[in-house]
C-alpha cells in the first residue's frame, strides 16, 4: 500500500440492501464514489467516517488503522482525523460562522496559524462572514463554511457527501470552482460522493462506480462515466468534456471568441478579452459526429479525431469516445440508430460537431 493510501473494506447488510466493497484508494487527489441513490455510496462514506459500522470492516489510512474488526479495532468518529462535509452543510445554528469554524479547530487542538485559517477562509472566500449566523447565509455560503470548518481540523482525509446536491443550479456553479481549487491546493485525499456525472468529470481524478452495493467500474471519469451515467436518471446529459485552448481572436462585432485547438477551431459565444488560454466545457449530448467535413452547417466548432471506444448498450444513446488530434479525449453521445446507420467503428476518422461550448468557470 502506497504511503498515505487508503484501504477500505466494508460489508454491511440492511433489509433490502447490501454493501460489499473492497477498495484501495490513492493517498491524494479526488476520488469520486459515483452511483444512483441506493447504490451504497453514502453508506460507504459513512463507514469511512465511523458513523456506520460494518461488522467485519477494515479501514486503513496511511499508517493508521481506523477499523480492523478482525483485531477488534474501531476508532470512534471523534478520534479519527477526518473532515466531513454533509449534503445539507449541517452548520450549528446556535453558533456564528466563527463559532462553527472554531468548533472543530479547538477540539483538534490546532491553532489558527497551524490550520492556516486565513488561507483557508480566503480560498473559500468566507473571511467576511465570520460574525454572521448560519441562518443568514446563502446555500452556497453555508456549504463553503462547512468545507472550511472541516479543513480547519487539519484532517488526514476529507469526506464529502454530495456537497452540491442541496443547492440550485446557480449556487452549484458558485461552489464548484471552490471545490476545484480545493482539489488543486490540498494534498490530502478527498472522497467525493455524487450522483451527478458533471460534478464527477469536473472535480474527480478518479471515479469509482457503485451499483447496488458493489463496485462496477473504476477509472478516469471520462473513461467510466459514459456507460456509468446510465445508472442515474438524466445522467447522460451530465457527461461533459473539458478542453484547454488558446485564445486567438475576439470578434467584437459578433460577440464571439475564436480559440485554437490542435483538432480545430473552437468558437465560444463570449468575449474573452482578458485571458490567453481558456478551459471550455462541452456536453457529450451537444457533440454530433460526421464522417466527412460538413460544409453547410451552422455549427462553428468542428474538431477532428479518431474513434477510440464505442460504448453501446441496449439503451437509445451510445457514447463514442474520440482521441482528438493533439491527444485530448472527447466523448460524444449519439443515438444507437445513428451509430449503426453510419457504421461507425473503432479506428474510424470522424468530425465532431460541437453545438454548444461553454466557458469553464474555473479560469486558469
Amino acid at each position: 500500500m502506497a504511503d498515505g493510501a487508503i484501504a477500505a473494506r466494508f460489508r454491511l447488510a440492511y433489509p433490502g440492501f447490501a454493501l460489499d466493497v473492497d477498495l484501495e484508494l490513492p493517498g491524494r487527489g479526488v476520488t469520486a464514489l459515483f452511483g444512483p441513490s441506493g447504490s451504497g455510496k453514502t453508506t460507504a462514506l459513512r463507514c469511512m467516517a465511523g458513523l456506520a459500522r460494518a461488522p467485519d470492516g477494515l479501514l486503513k489510512i496511511g499508517g493508521d488503522v481506523w477499523q480492523d474488526e478482525a483485531r477488534g479495532v474501531f476508532v470512534p468518529t471523534h478520534r479519527r482525523a477526518l473532515g466531513m462535509v454533509f449534503q445539507d452543510a449541517s452548520l450549528f445554528s446556535h453558533l456564528t460562522v466563527k463559532g462553527n469554524l472554531d468548533y472543530g479547530m479547538t477540539r483538534a487542538r490546532v491553532t489558527a496559524a497551524e490550520a492556516g485559517r486565513d488561507a483557508i477562509c480566503e480560498m473559500l472566500d468566507i473571511a467576511a462572514l465570520a460574525q454572521r449566523w448560519p441562518d443568514t447565509l446563502s446555500g452556497g455560503e453555508r456549504q463553503r463554511v462547512a468545507i472550511a470548518r472541516a479543513l480547519l481540523t487539519r484532517p488526514q482525509l476529507l469526506l464529502m457527501d454530495e456537497p452540491l446536491a442541496s443547492l440550485d443550479v446557480a449556487r452549484r456553479l458558485d461552489v464548484l470552482p471552490y471545490l476545484e481549487r480545493l482539489r488543486d491546493e490540498l494534498d490530502i485525499p478527498i472522497i467525493y460522493v455524487s450522483h451527478a456525472p458533471e460534478e464527477v468529470t469536473r472535480i474527480a481524478d478518479e471515479a469509482v462506480v457503485l451499483d447496488r452495493g458493489h463496485v462496477v467500474a473504476r477509472g478516469a471519469p471520462l473513461d467510466v462515466l459514459p456507460s456509468a451515467s446510465r445508472l442515474v436518471e438524466g445522467g447522460r446529459f451530465g457527461v461533459v468534456n473539458a478542453l484547454k485552448a488558446r485564445v486567438v481572436a475576439v470578434d467584437d462585432a459578433y460577440g464571439v471568441t475564436r480559440l485554437a485547438h490542435p483538432a480545430g477551431e473552437i468558437l465560444i459565444a463570449a468575449r474573452l478579452t482578458t485571458q490567453r488560454e481558456a478551459r471550455v466545457v462541452m456536453r457529450a449530448t451537444d457533440v454530433a459526429l460526421a464522417m466527412s467535413e460538413p460544409r453547410d452547417t451552422s455549427v462553428r466548432t468542428i474538431l477532428r479525431g479518431r474513434i477510440e471506444k464505442i460504448d453501446a448498450s441496449e439503451s437509445a444513446l451510445a457514447f463514442v469516445t474520440l482521441t482528438l488530434i493533439g491527444g485530448d479525449r472527447l466523448v460524444s453521445a449519439i443515438t444507437r440508430l445513428a451509430l449503426d446507420e453510419l457504421r461507425l467503428t473503432v479506428g474510424a476518422d470522424v468530425f465532431a460537431l460541437v453545438k454548444s461550448v461553454a466557458l469553464d468557470e474555473r479560469g486558469l
Binding site: 458513523l51 470512534p76 468518529t77 449541517s90 446556535h94 477540539r107 483538534a108
Partner: protein
C-alpha cells in the same frame, strides 16, 4: 386583603416549584436524551411510565407514593436506614412527590426537541472531534433550548397547580406543606370565600400569564 398566612403559602409554593423545576431539568434532560436516542426495547415501557402522571388521578399517584414513602415502603426503609425523618407530611416529601407528578411535563418537550434535531448535528460534531458527552453539552443542549424553556415553564406551572398529590402526601401543615392550592381548599371548606378569592384569582392570573408567555413564544418562532 391577603394575610401573612396567604403569603406564607405563596412563598412555599414558589419555593417548591423552583426546587422541583431545577431538579427536574437535571433529571429530565438526560432521561429525555436517552428516550430520544435509544433503540432499546425499554424505550416504550419507560416512556409510558414517564407519561403515567398525565392520565392517572393524582390520588392514585399520591396513594402509592404514600405507601412507598411510608415506614414499610422501600423509600421509607431507606430514609429510616439513613436516619432521616420519614418523607410523608414534610416539605422534602412534597418535592419527591412533585418530581414524579411533573416529570412528563418536563421530559416530553425536551425529548421532542432532541428528536426534532435528528442525528445530523451530533454526527457533524463527532466529525469535528467532539466526544458524545462534549456534543451533548455543546450542541444538543443549546439546539434544544426552546424545548428546555418550554419544559421549565410547564414544569414550574404544573407544580404550582398541583393539589391532589400534595393533599395525599403533605396534608396542610402551615409553612411546611400547605401550598396555595391546599390553602384555597381549606378556605372554601371553612366558607371563607373572600379569602379564597384572593388566592384563586391570583392563581388564575398566574396560569394565564404562563400560558400566554408559552404560546406567545411559540408564535414568535425559534427563540421567541
Amino acid at each position: 386583603m391577603p394575610t401573612s398566612e396567604d403569603f406564607a403559602a405563596i412563598w412555599l409554593t414558589l419555593k417548591l416549584a423552583t426546587i422541583v423545576t431545577c431538579l427536574l431539568l437535571l433529571i429530565g434532560a438526560p432521561l429525555a436524551w436517552w428516550l430520544a436516542r435509544t433503540r432499546s426495547w425499554l424505550k416504550g415501557p419507560l416512556g409510558a411510565v414517564v407519561a403515567l402522571p398525565l392520565v392517572l388521578p393524582p390520588t392514585v399517584l399520591g396513594f402509592y407514593l404514600l405507601l412507598t414513602m411510608g415506614p414499610h415502603g422501600p423509600l421509607g426503609r431507606l430514609t429510616a436506614f439513613l436516619g432521616v425523618a420519614p418523607l410523608p407530611f414534610t416539605f422534602a416529601g412534597l418535592v419527591v412527590a412533585s418530581l414524579f407528578y411533573s416529570l412528563p411535563f418536563v421530559v416530553q418537550p425536551i425529548q421532542n426537541a432532541f428528536e426534532a434535531m435528528g442525528d445530523r448535528p451530533l454526527e457533524a460534531a463527532a466529525t469535528l472531534r467532539a466526544s458524545p458527552l462534549d456534543a451533548f453539552f455543546t450542541v444538543a443542549l443549546p439546539l434544544a433550548r426552546p424545548g428546555l424553556v418550554t419544559a421549565a415553564i410547564l414544569g414550574f406551572a404544573h407544580t404550582v397547580g398541583e393539589f391532589g398529590v400534595v393533599l395525599m402526601i403533605g396534608g396542610a401543615i402551615p409553612d411546611k406543606t400547605r401550598v396555595v392550592s391546599v390553602l384555597i381548599y381549606d378556605q372554601v371548606e371553612s366558607m371563607n370565600y373572600e379569602r379564597a378569592h384572593w388566592l384563586a384569582g391570583g392563581m388564575l392570573l398566574f396560569s394565564f400569564c404562563v400560558l400566554l408567555a408559552l404560546y406567545g413564544r411559540r408564535r414568535n418562532g425559534r427563540y421567541g
